[in-house]
């Protein structure tokens, strides 16, 4: 069983991993150790693989630092659920194979500390007796996430997913 970590709106990438904790500044450290190190010390100490982030609008605004979603990915975060994501964060997270879900209703329903289990293969989030459906990403992004990230996708298929024209 894993838990929900709830965040407000406009969580920026400087909060996820401050620039001073970038891999560039600490080449010998795992960036996962820096996830929300100053903005949310309880998360930094206690978050474990399988946990879920539930946040407000515009999650991931700010810089293009891919090490922000990378820190969450390496921490084993199973899913991030928000009403909307910032553009560069969205790309970076999809490219890394981090599961994102745009689900405003679920954000209202899930509370800090809720015990949940994410079943990505069935696009479901289990909370006690209840099963919430997780809305799939657009096909293009979904293909990348399901392959485990854009690098895995490109290595496997030799190019980007088909785009509709």
């Amino acid at each position: 069983m894993s838990r929900v970590w709830k965040f407000g709106a406009d969580v920026d990438t400087d909060q996820m991993v401050p620039g001073r904790f970038a891999p560039y500044m600490r080449p010998d450290k795992d960036v996962a150790d820096a996830a929300f190190i100053e903005a949310r010390p309880d998360f930094n100490r206690e978050a474990v693989a399988g946990d879920v982030i539930v946040a407000g609008e515009n999650f991931g605004c700010g810089s293009s630092r891919e090490y922000a979603p990378l820190a969450l990915k390496r921490r084993g975060i199973a899913a991030i659920i928000a009403p909307s994501f910032a553009r560069i964060f969205f790309r970076n997270a999809v490219n890394l194979g981090l599961a994102l879900f745009v689900a405003p209703d679920l954000v209202d329903e899930l509370q800090e500390g809720d015990q949940v289990t994410v079943d990505l293969s069935a696009y479901r989030l289990l909370q006690g007796e209840r099963a919430h459906e997780l809305p799939a990403l657009p096909d293009f992004a979904r293909a990348i996430v399901e392959a485990g990230g854009i690098v895995a996708y490109v290595r496997e298929h030799g190019g980007f997913p088909e785009v509709q024209s």
């Binding site: 293009s64 891919e66 560069i88």
Partner: protein, 429 residues
């Protein structure tokens, strides 16, 4: 790259149904995709220029080599690497990473702008690598700055840039465009930064997410003001922020004939800003759209003033500050840090008395580059420091200690604040 290569071949234009009125972003992405595009389309495009900086290039090199298994970049001519984020290196680790990037650039034949040359977004414009009509991606969220010269510039992360280095291609979703219509001219003491902050105030931090912005009514605005404005497009979530190439940009950078403002193009939204009513604006800690008129925060005590960044670190910004500080000394409780945006901008400030005026007033000058903007070196903020910065982001902890606080304002307000030790406008000091 020649200017010629940017021109859309005739039959391609025909196929593109070029007569359909498009926004500037749609025109640039249509050319890059080789077919007419509309907002919402997913397209695979070949960018004209790709920028990497020292902060992410070490990991981009790793992804390209180790994960993608590619040894040579697609076309070194279409690339530039700038060492600006920790410049010069502050630790053995950053020094080693920079040496890896230097060796890579040499081996691949990529043009490298080494430490001291300046901030990537300033250098690419100065070197005339960024030009009107181009599609430019950079490993930096402020790559929207290239909109100042009429290019579509956008930021991406490590893996996206590694894929472009390896393949020359990437995918984008064509954005709808928001039109910002500016009327009138700045009042004295008000400048492009106040307009940029006003746009953040009106559109809010996520107001332009996934969209492009086009700024109209600014044919008279010099290049440096356009750079200030375009650099902050990402602060409202925009993918790109473009000032139509007119006036001085047209004269110096010869926009391609196909890049034209079509008055019938479809905009998603229009925001009108009247400069005659615009007062100096200040963003309060710790969100860039928490913007108010200067009068609301005037008198707030500060410990640090920072003049620099890709938003406001150019000669004209230093000049504006020097005019306020001329013959006076900064407040004894304030540290005034100045980081020119580039070596050329620093030289311009040396040619007249701008730099000497600033240093006489008590300023500390650091190496051209990003300086303390990201809190990594050259003036990192300590606990409870209050900084007024001419930069573009005031997120909690961005410039150092999480308890420090950042206000954002224009160079004029920065100089007046350094003089009085409290947030102030030029008229109050």
């Amino acid at each position: 790259m020649s200017i010629q290569s940017l021109e859309l071949p005739e039959q391609q234009a025909e196929r593109a149904g070029w007569q359909r009125p498009m926004t500037l972003s749609e025109q640039i992405l249509s050319r890059a995709a080789g077919r007419p595009v509309a907002p919402g389309d997913m397209v695979v495009v070949a960018p004209d220029l790709v920028m990497g900086h020292d902060s992410l290039s070490p990991s981009i090199i790793k992804v390209m080599r180790d994960q993608l298994g590619v040894d040579r970049v697609f076309d070194p001519e279409k690339m530039a690497i700038v060492l600006d984020h920790v410049s010069p290196a502050s630790t053995v680790g950053t020094a080693n990473s920079q040496n890896i990037v230097r060796a890579f650039a040499r081996e691949q034949g990529i043009r490298l702008f080494d430490v001291g040359r300046g901030i990537c977004h300033q250098v690419l414009v100065e070197e005339r690598l960024a030009r009107p009509g181009m599609l430019i991606f950079g490993s930096d969220s402020h790559s929207c700055s290239y909109g100042a010269v009429g290019a579509f510039g956008s930021g991406m992360g490590t893996t996206d840039i590694a894929l472009i280095w390896a393949t020359g291609k990437t995918w984008v979703k064509v954005p709808p465009t928001i039109r910002v219509q500016v009327r009138g001219r700045f009042r004295p003491g008000v400048s492009a930064k106040d307009l940029a902050l006003r746009v953040c105030r009106e559109l809010t931090i996520a107001g332009a997410t996934y969209a492009a912005i086009e700024y109209h009514g600014l044919d008279w605005l010099p290049l440096e003001g356009r750079q200030t404005l375009a650099s902050m497009a990402v602060e409202v979530g925009a993918k790109a922020g473009i000032v139509p190439p007119t006036g001085v940009v047209t004269e110096q950078l010869l926009p391609p004939a196909w890049l034209q403002v079509h008055e019938d193009a479809v905009y998603e939204q229009e925001l009108v800003i009247d400069l005659a009513e615009l007062e100096p604006q200040v963003a309060r800690p710790s969100q860039v759209d928490d913007v108010c008129d200067l009068s609301e925060v005037a008198g707030t005590e500060v410990s640090v003033v920072f003049l620099g960044t890709c938003t406001n670190g150019r000669y004209e910004d230093m000049r504006a500050a020097a005019q306020v500080l001329s013959g006076r000394r900064i407040h004894p409780n304030v540290r005034l840090m100045i980081t020119p945006a580039s070596s050329l901008e620093m030289q311009r400030a040396m040619r007249d008395d701008t730099l000497s005026t600033l240093i006489d007033a008590g300023a500390t000058l650091t190496t051209p580059g990003c300086g303390m903007c990201m809190g990594r070196h050259q003036g990192t903020l300590g606990d409870n420091d209050v900084c007024l910065s001419t930069g573009n982001r005031n997120f909690r902890g961005r410039m150092g200690a999480p308890s420090s606080r950042i206000y954002l304002a224009s160079p004029e307000v920065a100089a007046a604040t350094a003089l009085s030790g409290r947030i102030a406008g030029p008229e109050q000091v």
